[in-house]
């Protein structure tokens, strides 16, 4: 990593603080970063997984649209995407008109659509279903996430998994190791250069020493207090590597009524900003193998069509832009991105031109190592389970495939022996 790249990384973070930090005074950590990126970068050929979580329950039927199925148009006359508007894929399916970038990926053979993904006896609660997706344990609640269990197995380096969120998604929490959560927004955004890094003075400074000291392990303290100390420890490490990259501003109150129409089930976004930080981390040679980003607002019980299309357009622009830019960089061949949501919607529209909670939906997987095409079976729109789609693909098949083909891990240990795979999805 040369000086120019480091500086570009900082400045392009879009933060006034960045230039000041790059200039010197408080720029501790970047020496370590340059060192570690120089001596210990993620080796070429190690693939990177970018997980995109769509909070709120995305309507899969209006994302990957069964345009040729009369039952689709009959079930939601006002809400249906017209056949002429959809972007044609194959097998009678078309993409939502907002997803022009995904269509290009499809045409290039780099977009896979895994259809009908859910788990046995789908739960229609956002919270329970999201917990199941993140823990990969549909039968019984567990306290670790699937990526967290991979972290445990991979040797306990928290920087192996990074979430661009102020709070850690459960997926990244392991029994002994938790991934790193880096806020994109927050005090680090709008405030002065001193705000986020005041305490992280050069290691010689007394405050820096004391701060590090607070992260030391202490025998006999309560588990949660020990975790608080561990967070300080992880902060010091993460700050050394990634600190100033986390300061792209985002204003959660800035958004018009339509944009936030489905807000009650969580999530907000500046997805493109999150993915841009991910791209910079990847290009910098950060040792992370998993990045978690999210887009919220999909809980559209009312006036769904325009709002969902706007959200999908945002998703599409962010993802396609990310893959395009990362594809032109040195790590372009290594990046696999997967998009999922915790639940689908009911087949029939409700009377507010929205949809209530349903079951299965498509998982989109894209990137250079991905073999584009359709996977899994399209759920029937006439053979329903009490108004809902019958899932055709177990979500753990997708996880197992990503663990094995992207992270080079043994999925059996992480997914409790789950045997299923999505054959051919990602080339080894």
């Amino acid at each position: 990593m040369d000086r120019l790249t480091r500086r570009r990384f900082l400045v392009a973070s879009g933060v006034t603080a960045a230039t000041a930090l790059a200039g010197g005074a408080t720029a501790i950590g970047w020496h370590t970063l340059v060192q570690r990126a120089g001596t210990d970068p993620l080796p070429p050929g190690h693939k990177v997984l970018v997980l995109v979580t769509l909070y709120g329950g995305n309507d899969g039927l209006n994302t990957v649209v069964p345009v040729d199925d009369p039952a689709y148009h009959a079930a939601r006359p006002e809400l249906a995407v017209a056949a002429r508007d959809a972007l044609p894929l194959a097998g009678g399916l078309g993409l939502n008109p907002g997803m022009t970038g995904a269509k290009k990926l499809w045409d290039a053979g780099r977009l896979a659509v895994v259809r009908g993904v859910s788990y046995p006896r789908p739960d229609r609660s956002h919270f329970r279903s999201m917990a199941i997706w993140q823990t990969a344990s549909p039968e019984s609640p567990v306290s670790t996430g699937w990526i967290g269990r991979w972290l445990d197995a991979a040797g306990g380096d928290p920087l192996l998994a990074v979430a661009l969120d102020p709070v850690l998604p459960p997926a990244l929490a392991g029994a002994t190791t938790a991934g790193v959560a880096l806020a994109l927004n927050g005090a680090s955004a709008g405030t002065r250069a001193s705000a986020p890094t005041t305490g992280l003075r050069p290691p010689g400074g007394a405050v820096g020493m004391a701060f590090r000291g607070l992260g030391a392990a202490q025998d006999g303290e309560p588990e949660l207090q020990a975790r608080a100390a561990r967070a300080v420890r992880d902060t010091v490490r993460a700050a050394e590597l990634l600190g100033p990259a986390t300061m792209a501003p985002a204003d959660p109150d800035d958004g018009d009524a339509e944009r936030t129409g489905g807000a009650s089930a969580g999530g907000r976004s500046a997805l493109a900003g999150q993915l841009d930080v991910v791209r910079r981390c990847i290009e910098l040679g950060a040792p992370s193998r998993v990045y978690s980003v999210s887009l919220g607002g999909f809980d559209l019980h009312a006036n769904e069509r325009a709002t969902q299309q706007r959200l999908l357009t945002e998703l599409d622009g962010a993802v396609a832009g990310f893959l395009d830019r990362v594809g032109r960089g040195p790590r372009g061949a290594d990046v696999v991105l997967a998009v999922y949501s915790e639940l689908g919607r009911r087949v029939v529209a409700n009377a507010s031109d929205g949809t209530d909670h349903g079951t299965a939906g498509p998982v989109l997987v894209a990137g250079a190592p991905v073999q584009g095409g359709l996977y899994g079976e399209q759920p029937s729109l006439t053979d329903l389970d009490d108004g809902d789609l019958k899932p055709t693909t177990d979500f753990r098949d997708v996880y197992a495939t990503l663990l094995a083909a992207v992270l080079g891990a043994d999925p059996g240990r992480i997914l409790d022996g789950h045997p299923g795979r999505v054959e051919g999805l990602v080339s080894a």
């Binding site: 909070y55 975790r227 608080a228």
Partner: protein, 429 residues
């Protein structure tokens, strides 16, 4: 005793822990609980900000958005200041608890006055019986907008509110069927929200007056009947007690026997909280909670004697003195009042202990300390300052933290700021 003051109050002010210790646990507990009655009667705090109606019309959207943002900031400052300055903090503590249960965000509601009205209703009803509270929340204007209740009409059901009412507000997931959700949605039809006045009204013509069956009860149902069925369900008091337990005792669930005991005698939410706090588990070593960012910030302000809201002589607890400062700090920590991340409320436990938060927390601590009078630490001999900082925050240090803080004993502001972000102060142990 410290637990009691941290969890029921937001945290002791200097000297309060000693006084409470002298008075004893039972006396302190009942003083805290009785204090809520006084506060609810209206003897506490500054009046809420006066909120002008937002301008309407397509050409004034930017203006409306700006005014809304300003009003939400006013509300946040006002409420934080209520928490910081409360003599009897339980009313604010309960209101904060209910805000996390009936979690509603201004992001979708787009009205500060509706958010304030909901907040006032939670303050007014939060210590009483559960049924009136949930009845008020089910048709609260902010709730209706948040969960699409105003769109739910006869022949045009929208299940959002009905589902969350059962799952998150009253009986919990697993205790109802999908059919119950569909029927309950019909019981809730007919409510409309007038954005101009911020009020909800019932329109009989839009209500589905069919005979419905919810949880085995069959009758024509409106909101009162449905709430009656839900609040009367045996799972409801257990669900509410569990949620309270998780915010006041520990992340783990109470035993079934304990739940039975808790729900048996407690008619009001204040009595229920009293029973929760009198449980032996509350005093056990395992009762450790991670402080939510709002709790942590309010506790810091109370200990340091600084205010969040008042401008001028009284200090602002945030990095900047500008109006974005409060939001900035709490936003960075992932917890903004009136904007929970989802209808499920804020997370609990170690989810707050992230690296992102650790970084922001130090900045916030520095800013709070910069405005505080640190004489109690500064005027202490250097060798005693670490202990004095512990006294200021009513904490005992582990050797790890005492050693770390000793490094900055010559710099009292840094010492206190680092004490605020110490592992000991991030949890309530």
């Amino acid at each position: 005793m410290r637990r009691l003051l941290q969890r029921v109050g937001f945290g002791p002010r200097p000297g309060e822990l000693d006084r409470a210790t002298a008075a004893g646990f039972d006396a302190t507990l009942s003083a805290l609980l009785d204090g809520a009655a006084g506060a609810a009667a209206g003897d506490a705090g500054a009046p809420p900000p006066t909120l002008q109606p937002l301008p309407v019309g397509a050409d004034r959207r930017r203006e409306a958005a700006d005014l809304l943002r300003t009003q939400v900031e006013q509300l946040r400052r006002w409420w934080l200041d209520q928490m910081v300055s409360a003599e009897h903090p339980l009313a604010e503590r309960l209101t904060f608890f209910w805000h996390g249960v009936f979690a509603t965000s201004v992001q979708k509601v787009r009205s500060a006055s509706m958010m304030l009205a909901q907040n006032q209703a939670q303050r007014r009803l939060g210590g009483g019986e559960f049924r009136p509270l949930v009845a008020a929340m089910a048709v609260d204007p902010a709730t209706l907008v948040w969960l699409d209740g105003q769109r739910n009409q006869r022949g045009r059901p929208n299940e959002n509110l009905a589902r969350e009412l059962m799952e998150l507000f009253t009986i919990g997931v697993g205790n109802y069927s999908e059919d119950d959700v569909k029927q309950a949605a019909r019981a809730l039809t007919g409510w409309r929200v007038d954005r101009a006045t911020g009020t909800a009204s019932f329109d009989r013509r839009r209500h589905d007056d069919a005979v419905l069956t919810v949880l085995g009860h069959t009758a024509p149902m409106g909101v009162d009947e449905l709430v009656g069925v839900l609040a009367g369900n045996p799972q409801c008091p257990r669900f509410v007690a569990s949620r309270m337990w998780q915010r006041f005792v520990s992340d783990s669930q109470p035993s079934p026997e304990r739940l039975d005991g808790l729900t048996e005698h407690a008619a009001t939410m204040r009595e229920l909280l009293g029973a929760v706090l009198a449980s032996p588990e509350f005093l056990a070593p395992e009762s450790v909670l991670v402080r939510q960012p709002v709790e942590w910030l309010v506790a810091a302000c109370r200990a340091l004697g600084v205010s969040v809201a008042r401008q001028g002589a009284a200090p602002d607890a945030m990095p900047d003195a500008g109006p974005d400062a409060v939001r900035g700090g709490l936003q960075g920590l992932g917890q903004q009042l009136f904007a929970p991340p989802s209808v499920g409320g804020w997370p609990a436990g170690s989810a707050w202990l992230t690296t992102a938060a650790a970084r922001t927390r130090l900045a916030v601590a520095n800013a709070a300390v910069a405005r505080a009078d640190l004489a109690r630490v500064r005027d202490t001999a250097r060798g005693e300052r670490v202990r004095a900082a512990g006294e200021l925050l009513s904490l005992d240090w582990t050797p790890r933290t005492a050693d770390a803080l000793a490094v900055v004993a010559g710099d009292p502001p840094a010492l206190v700021a680092l004490a605020l972000i110490s592992p000991e102060n991030l949890v309530s142990a």
